[in-house]
Point group: C2
């Protein structure tokens, strides 16, 4: 008997029929003699509908209230999934994040898990019940509902797998696993059997929508090995773990495109010590994720800062920057939304040079202009025109011979 | 400065625009210098949609899971209402039933309130916030979500008014107040300025859909005076309180029709002591509300029991009765769904005779057949053919001269 944590994403529980299929899959795991904790997302589309309602009331809704509101999406699917298991004769209990003992810090809409009291779940598992947990949510010490950010039901699953010392953690989604590129864009893309946490992290932060970075970071920190696989078939997925044996031979593991970023240019700010710090402090205080920062000094005494933020946070960023610019004595904010970030990722890069050269040459050959560059040990990211992003992904995929196994 | 508990029903918060109107009304009360706690229902239709989803998974869904599911309807409107208040510059915090400290017994879908810990709400009121509470729900000592039954957001409001020692309790709904009959059916129906708890109770239990009996009982028990009024205009409503001064002059206060009941006939059961008790014990154990019981002995040694139950509970009733009938050695269950219950209500009846005679004569004059009769000190109820229920209400309204002030 193993203890298995499974996570089903929004499309997997997208309607009643799909919830019934998920229940059957859970039952099949139970029938093999395993204990199952299943984490479910909101039905796909529901979170967006709720956000749209909130935005029809206020441009920037209170984050405390947004969390109260958004948490209901997962509460709905968790209760319905438990009912679907009952209909199959399987004992099951649904839990909200609060009921599952998931305690977080006080940061609304992006809360971090502090501790998990696993006792209630352990008790129900001992009774022979399947436990269905509403993903993406917890409770803070003041009793307020908190949520973890978009896509964070994975985080619930991985954190529960760690807290419950689960033998396996399976992330069921609408794709077969992790690919060398988005198969809808790059036809030659291949599914990877295994990938390391670090590569998965760079892919996640680069817009490969399989999983959120935070979930992978959490898994890496607690050594939770997990499998990304499809809930619509029984194909093996991609195992994500610390090190992959044949990794050294491979230079680049995948290409990812992120079209949900915007480029922010803060221009003509006084070029004196502390100006940049103040800008990024203000963004950080507003909990805005900043990526790909470039600073350059322009004409006499003024500097330009360029960086990317999620498109959803541009209004918040502009609001946060306004008082800072008055405080430091000048500067303008410009937003470019029609950009895309393309990244190539692979631990093999650490010991291989020439990756940047290969990428830049491949794009130059098709006249794609590079607006920003940032690099890490195992990743190179560039900002390009959104209209040419898919083409750039195909070109890079071929340049690194990712279509060959 | 007064402390006011307001309750807004499902049609009052039926969409975003209506939620904004509710927020304006709450703001107006705040602007007069009052403390406001507002209890909100789910958007009209939402609870039915959620029940339909549950029933598409299981005929009789787990009640524990049904509560987890249904509670989200009110959680949604409470968060949206708080956001709408923020948009008007009013500080507001939304609470689930659990967060509002509403502790109940363990009976799912029909939980009773045991205690209310008013401290969290008091704290927010002291901070100057409006508190928006999700109606209809609480939490039991095991941390499970419980709900109080349909229409029970009123109960949340009245219980909070008692716990918070509120100066006023206003129940906002889609009607102007309590009428002598349903104005859609009886054109001459008049709005009552005041009504006693007991009359309101009998009207509620008789299908006048203004309020649920339990809420009125609770108000009577704790002496909470409340006003039923419309959220769509500023007309004065109907005040519900212990005694109404001019009450003695009035014999009948109102006529109510309930088309949501079904008649259950348990026929040919062995006529021996304890048979009836076993039948009703089984129904009570399944938490089925039974009304209008008539027993009569049929042919030799067998008896028939006739009673009414809510139409929604007929399947549950049949299921509950099956094992009992085998245990007592026989009997059949028949369900008649096309019935209606008509009631005339008034504390004046206590000291006036002839009310039954007047009612029966009025119906006989138009050839409406009476299938069942039950009476209390201040009410006479009869079961008739559903197809003639509206006509019967008009006839009775005229017979008791309710159209005259």
């Amino acid at each position: 008997m193993a203890r298995i944590v499974q996570k089903y994403g929004g499309t997997s529980v997208g309607d009643i029929d799909r919830i019934k299929i998920v229940a059957k899959r859970i039952k099949a795991t139970c029938d093999e003699g395993h204990e199952v904790v299943a984490v479910v997302s909101a039905r796909s589309g529901v979170t967006n509908e709720l956000i749209a309602k909130a935005k029809s009331i206020a441009d920037i809704p209170s984050e405390r209230e947004l969390d109260q509101l958004l948490a209901i999406g997962e509460q709905e699917t968790s209760a319905l999934t438990a009912m679907a298991l009952h209909a199959l004769g399987v004992g099951a209990v649904s839990y909200t994040g609060a009921q599952a003992g998931i305690f977080t810090d006080k940061v609304h809409t992006k809360a971090k898990i502090k501790t998990i009291n696993a006792k209630p779940i352990e008790k129900d598992l001992k009774k022979g019940n399947v436990v269905i947990v509403a993903g993406f949510q917890g409770i803070n010490e003041e009793g307020n509902v908190t949520t973890f950010g978009r896509g964070a039901s994975d985080l619930t699953a991985i954190a529960l797998a760690a807290a419950l010392k689960a033998d396996k953690c399976e992330i069921y989604t609408d794709v077969d696993g992790v690919y060398t590129a988005d198969p809808r864009v790059v036809k030659q893309a291949r599914k990877l059997a295994e990938i390391s946490y670090d590569e998965m992290l760079e892919l996640a932060s680069s817009g490969s929508k399989v999983m959120m970075s935070r979930s992978v970071e959490f898994a890496k920190k607690y050594g939770v090995i997990f499998e990304v696989r499809s809930s619509f078939n029984h194909n093996p997925g991609t195992i994500v773990k610390e090190e992959v044996a044949y990794m050294e031979k491979v230079v680049v593991r995948g290409v990812a495109v992120d079209k949900d970023q915007a480029k922010v240019i803060v221009s003509n700010i006084p070029d004196k010590p502390g100006s940049a710090a103040k800008v990024f402090r203000a963004l950080s205080d507003s909990n805005i994720n900043v990526d790909m920062i470039v600073q350059n000094v322009g004409r006499q005494g003024v500097a330009n800062l360029t960086f990317t933020v999620p498109q959803t946070e541009t209004a918040k960023a502009v609001k946060a920057l306004k008082p800072v610019l008055s405080a430091i004595g000048g500067g303008q904010v410009t937003i470019h939304e029609h950009i895309a970030k393309l990244s190539v990722v692979g631990v093999g890069m650490k010991t291989h040079s020439g990756v940047a050269a290969t990428l830049f040459q491949a794009l130059a050959d098709v006249d794609i202009n590079i607006e920003l560059i940032s690099t890490s040990e195992i990743k190179i990211s560039i900002v390009i025109d959104q209209a040419r992003a898919d083409e750039a992904a195909r070109v890079a995929h071929t340049a690194f011979q990712l279509d060959k196994a």
